[in-house]
């Protein structure tokens, strides 16, 4: 995806104004300013405190020292840290506690000990309060940057669309903003430019790089009548396109919407963490008060008790708990989107690891969904046979006829055919017609039987082909068989590899189809699936899935349109789409590339993402479970507590980013 953008930028600067995601960068810039400001004042504070520690002396008198700390600390807490203080206090007063509440309370208490120490016998924690705030801001800055990295793929997706379009108004070419393009506008796309929106080619021929949606690196030829998709890249010709979909209806918009929706999806494992997060802050407040009370009661040392309570306030980190799942999900779904894998349901990520059985629909999923010529057998000149067959079939719209015509045109480079007289389509059986003086009948066994045409000499071959699941067309000239052509739905290029990899991962693979047993078994054998459920009516596929669910969790892979009920019934429904034709609603995971290897990738990605989520939750829980008791016991200096807290959030987000190194 990235490469294409760069390459597009080079060739077509006006179409790809890099608009940085403003919100994210503003946030990072803001934290950076606060970070620099806070440390500018905190470093002198730290030096003063260090002097005091090491040399046991003060540069100024005790009171003056405190006043200096308070003055230096004031901007750190009340200017650079103001949003945190404000948000935190608001949370405290409105009972919508947030993690700022803890930091605000911790720093304010510490700061005010400085003021009090001017009048009472109490330890001055005001220097510490600045350091807590400075480290807190540092942590937030690093975290914001890491979060920015986590969303980089999604940001790229948002930036993928063209910003401008050159349209034809009257006879004039004018350049307008993409938002002003209307349905029906004629758009001119020059070589190297991005196609601005979804449309259909009116004029011109070109190759278009559609790798962003199909994953296919070879450009696709487009000519009059071809559909084109917005954000794909026109390679070498000029295309005149009529806009058919604009704005939020385009393919790219749909994908972006899907990916964005995933971000607020909940993964079940996060539920516990969410529950804890929601009561976390008040619980810590209570704990801090209890800690303070117990310390006062046991030690009668007010200063020490305050220090311990502040440590408890600042060490507890609900943020790491809250970030654990969303950051991993964001990185995972971004990685997926880049590969044409759209995770729609957060739950699917968690369920996927328990899936043992994968059921594939045959047609359009394992196979290409359209017939191709497999075998030609004749005892006469093959060229003659093919030429005459194609000549006749040219007049038919049937997919088998098309397959034969395509094959012959490709093999013999025939462009023009002779005239066919008395052409007739015989529904469900074949075609007939006359070329010159010769009468041709092309069709299945039934048709030949009807016409009493003897299959002698071809009988064995016909049975052979039929037994390997192919459909056989018998060609007769003047009531005599001259050859046979068999066609079959070809399997997709990487189906075999995909099934092999799934088997290596010990999944049970099953193929389900409405086709007859012979055809089904033949395909299954080619692709390496041992178990076949044939003759299943579309509406019964869901029932079969239900039956299989008795043996374990089932993932169903199908085309999303006919297979919607089965996709819904299965534990993880994987809907396959090709091009713009994706049925978004029915799958838990949607594959846009239409290739079976996407299933393997989707499974690997789900598992990797889920294990990241688990790791993150483990770190976040573990951190709090360990750190809070240590703070309560008084073993943690408040500044160290704050550093630990900041690190816990950063660890979680950074760990989520590490998901990217995983090969899927």
């Amino acid at each position: 995806m990235h490469e294409h953008m760069d390459h597009n930028k080079m060739r077509n600067p006006h179409n790809s104004h890099h608009h940085d995601s403003p919100v994210e960068d503003e946030e990072i810039r803001d934290w950076k300013k606060r970070l620099i400001g806070a440390w500018l004042f905190t470093i002198p504070i730290a030096l003063l405190m260090l002097f005091e520690r090491i040399f046991g002396m003060m540069l100024f008198g005790e009171k003056i020292n405190t006043i200096v700390l308070l003055v230096l600390g004031f901007p750190v807490i009340f200017y650079f840290g103001w949003p945190t203080i404000k948000g935190g206090l608001r949370g405290l007063f409105t009972f919508y506690f947030n993690m700022d509440s803890l930091i605000a309370l911790g720093t304010l208490i510490a700061y005010f000990t400085g003021l009090f120490s001017l009048f009472f016998e109490i330890q001055d924690y005001s220097g510490i309060s600045s350091m807590i705030m400075a480290f807190f801001i540092t942590g937030k800055y690093v975290e914001a940057m890491a979060r920015g990295r986590a969303s980089q793929e999604i940001k790229k997706l948002l930036e993928l669309g063209a910003k401008k379009a050159r349209i034809l108004r009257g006879n004039k070419e004018i350049e307008i903003d993409i938002s002003e393009v209307k349905i029906g506008d004629v758009i001119i796309v020059k070589p190297g430019e991005k196609i601005p929106t979804d449309g259909v080619v009116l004029k011109g021929e070109s190759a278009v790089d559609e790798s962003m949606i199909s994953g296919e690196s070879l450009p696709v030829d487009k000519l009059k009548g071809s559909n084109v998709i917005g954000a794909t890249i026109n390679q070498d010709g000029i295309l005149y396109i009529k806009a058919t979909k604009i704005g939020s209806d385009t393919f790219l918009s749909h994908i972006i919407k899907l990916v964005e929706e995933t971000q607020s999806e909940k993964v079940p494992i996060q539920k516990l963490a969410d529950k804890i997060t929601s009561i976390f802050v008040p619980a810590i407040l209570v704990l801090a008060i209890l800690t303070f009370g117990s310390w006062i009661y046991l030690t009668k040392d007010l200063s020490r008790s305050i220090g311990v309570a502040v440590s408890v306030l600042v060490i507890a980190c609900p943020c790491a708990l809250g970030l654990a799942t969303p950051t991993a999900l964001m990185v995972g779904s971004g990685m997926g989107a880049k590969r044409g894998i759209l995770i729609r349901k957060g739950e699917a990520i968690q369920t996927m690891k328990n899936v043992r059985i994968i059921v594939f629909d045959k047609t359009g999923t394992i196979t290409k969904g359209k017939p191709e010529v497999r075998n030609v057998y004749t005892k006469i000149n093959e060229k003659y046979l093919l030429e005459k067959t194609a000549n006749l079939e040219k007049n038919s719209e049937h997919p088998i006829a098309k397959a034969i015509v395509d094959y012959v045109s490709e093999e013999l480079k025939i462009k023009r055919f002779s005239e066919v007289k008395n052409f007739k389509t015989l529904r469900g059986r074949g075609v007939e017609g006359k070329i010159g003086s010769k009468k041709f009948v092309i069709g299945n066994r039934t048709l030949m039987k009807e016409r009493k045409i003897n299959l002698k000499g071809y009988e064995d071959k016909i049975s052979d082909f039929e037994n390997s699941g192919e459909t056989v067309m018998i060609i007769s000239e003047n009531e005599k068989v001259i050859g046979i052509i068999s066609v079959a739905d070809a399997i997709k290029d990487d189906s075999v590899r995909a099934i092999r990899e799934l088997k290596n991962q010990r999944y049970k693979t099953i193929m389900i189809t409405g086709d007859n047993e012979i055809t089904a078994k033949a395909i299954a054998k080619q692709v390496g699936i041992s178990e076949v459920i044939a003759n299943v009516l579309p509406e019964n596929k869901a029932k079969e899935v239900e039956r299989l669910q008795k043996y374990g969790m089932v993932s169903f892979v199908g085309d999303g349109i006919n297979d919607a009920p089965a996709l819904k019934q299965s534990n993880v429904g994987i809907a396959m789409g090709t091009g713009t034709d994706i049925a978004i609603e029915s799958g838990d995971i949607v594959l846009t590339k239409g290739s079976l290897i996407g299933v393997v990738q989707a499974i690997n990605l789900s598992k990797a993402t889920f294990s990241k989520i688990k790791q993150n939750l483990f770190w976040a829980f573990g951190y709090n479970v360990l750190a809070i008791p240590i703070a309560v016991a008084g073993f943690l200096n408040p500044v160290v507590a704050e550093i630990a807290m900041a690190l816990s959030s950063i660890t979680v987000v950074t760990n989520a980013n590490l998901l990217r190194s995983k090969r899927i």
């Binding site: 608001r90 993690m99 708990l321 950051t327």
Partner: protein
């Protein structure tokens, strides 16, 4: 049922996001609020006529700002 998409500025912590969700869910007619901290936006389902002001207020109540609300 209508869905409102809300863009929110100022959230920087997951408890912020869940606070916004909590606050929004208290608005009559608002169902199933989902807020993403990372994308700084989210969606709510609306039953009946919920004034945009109410949504904005609910976000403001917990200290953040609804910068943009769109419906679909």
């Amino acid at each position: 049922m209508k869905t409102a998409k809300i863009e929110i500025s100022g959230m920087h912590c997951s408890s912020c996001a869940s606070n916004v969700e909590r606050s929004l869910s208290k608005v009559p007619g608002v169902k199933n609020p989902k807020i993403s901290l990372l994308l700084k936006k989210g969606s709510v389902e609306l039953e009946g006529n919920v004034p945009e002001e109410e949504l904005k207020k609910a976000v403001a109540r917990v200290g953040y700002k609804a910068t943009k609300i769109t419906y679909e």
